[in-house]
Amino acid sequence: MFPRPIDRSGFATQLGYQIIVPIALLIWLLPLIAIFMTSIRPAADINSGNVFGIPSRIALIENYIAVFTQSEALRYLTNSFLITIPTVIISVGLACLGGYALAIYRFKVALPLFFLFVAGNFVPYQILMVPVRDMSVQSGLYDTIQGQVLFHGAFQTGFCTLFMRNFIKALPFDLIESARIEGVKEWKIFWYVVLPLVRPAIAALSVLIFTFVWNDFFWANVLTQGESVKPITAGVRALNGQFVNNWHLVSAASLMAAMPPVAMFFLMQKHFIAGLTLGAVK
């Protein structure tokens, strides 16, 4: 282990470390803490310039209720879920199939096709923007939840396929061969042997994609126009325009937008990090 485990050093060093870490964390998260503090301040504090100090009163509930009652926040949140969850299902589902094909079968174009997915995954969004937007408009998917789901689903399929393919490739190939000798049909191998084994990958991927899509802002701008289908990220921006100078409400709304991915991260931490590093590093 590097650096040298701290518990091997003297008591003073250990104590010092135990003290420094929380302080460093505090500084690191200062922006978050600040907006949290702001989000529980009453409006009066903001106006009187009490941005940093102790809130004069904890207005947590009041502020968060205000966000919901005075804006479309609830709808934005709902939209975000409506966009994110189907996207996760579509992209992960397709990627399982595609990744299986690319990982298990030896065919000539497997590698080029795989690279196509990988490359597509790194493409700057902007190069897709005009055609995708135009296509959505033409097909009536513009400014709909489905339109966003379909696009995100396709785009994330690239990353998911990269991820699943590498994961499946790392499975012992013997398992597949063993099943083939036993006369198990290809799709049954996929269903009964591979799928159960890639469950951790599916979990990791799902959390990751959830976060990616939840946090999307660009496509929300490109593919929607109205309030009715905006996700929370774009919504928060709109709220920012609406709650001018009401920083306590903007903060509350921002935190709300951040909450689901953060919660997701906390609940599925292991998977999340596995996903990030596995997907990227492998």
């Binding site: 009536g140 400014d143 126009q225 109205g226 709109a238």
Partner: protein, 387 residues
Amino acid sequence: GDLVINFDDLNPGPKKGFDDAVAQFQAENPDINVIVNNNDREAHKTAIRNFLTADAPDVTSWYPGNRMAPFVDAGLFEPVTDLWAEQGFNEDLAAIKPTMSRNGEIWGVPYSYYQWGVYYRKDLFDLLKIEEPKTWDELLSACAVMKENNVTPFTIGTKFLWTAAGVFDYINLRTNGYDVHNGLTAGEIKYTDPRIVKTFENWAQLIEECGFIDNHASMSWQDAIAPFANGDAAMYVMGNFSVDGYKNAGLTEDQIDFFQFPEITPGLPRAEEAPADAFFIPTNAKNKEDARKFLAFVARPDVQSKWNATIGQLPINSKATVGDDKFIQQGFETVSTAAGLAQFYDRDAPAAMAKAGMEGFQEFMLDTSKMMAILERLDGVQEEVYK
């Protein structure tokens, strides 16, 4: 049948005005089923480009001037020249007719406009014994008094650029007049033209001798109300829609007042900024017959009177009556006596030009010494855009 109307304002006042009007229209035409899609203004700007082709409503709100040009050129709006003739709009709406026209046809029917000018803290002026300035020099000396008393003369928030364009438009209108404004936005006059340079020099003088609040580039127009409301700044060059904002910030009608932007070049006919809102019929509309009915309806004097009273703006129909709000009154006075009505820099100039121009204005406000460099750059853009 169904009449689909796309409208573009979700703010409570305008929404109510529109809803009321629709309700009245519906009442008058029980056979027509009005379906309203009301959208946020910015969203509407994006949406219209698509829905005109893909999913056209029967009526949509939009803006005259250069803003309607691309749609007109692409044949996406239905000309309503005949409707104007039928309904006598040519007389009743005469002031707005030029901006509603393009390529020899008239393309829509306006329902409202509003004035621009200088809103100020009357209580501050009173305290400092300053009169509403009528001329440039009066303005400058008023500023001097304010500055002595630690009051910043002007507030503004230029984060979203267009507010600076309002200031520019006024100084330009007062320095050079209506025709130069039109010439410039039509790409006929270069930005390095001595007349425009003069405008900028005057602006520089205003910045130098009057001054705007600090950090305006990081503020929206709403943000900029705060120092105004607090009494740290005394004046605000703005459109009439801002009155609501002042009131929300806790100011009463007694504390604020309005004056016309002071004269700069003496004797120049006075032109004003007065952006209009209008309704158009898309070419792909399904129910054009009822759409025309609606357009005729919104131009009616009684409708416009009531509607504008609700939204605190000015009716366009000369037969309409004006609300008794003090700002409306003053605005009506200002606009109706103006020698020319400008839409707004970003509505009169094509989009690409407007964007570049407004960025230039903002940059200029932050550093007046870059004036010539900015103007030369704008010339370059102009050449490109109007090619």
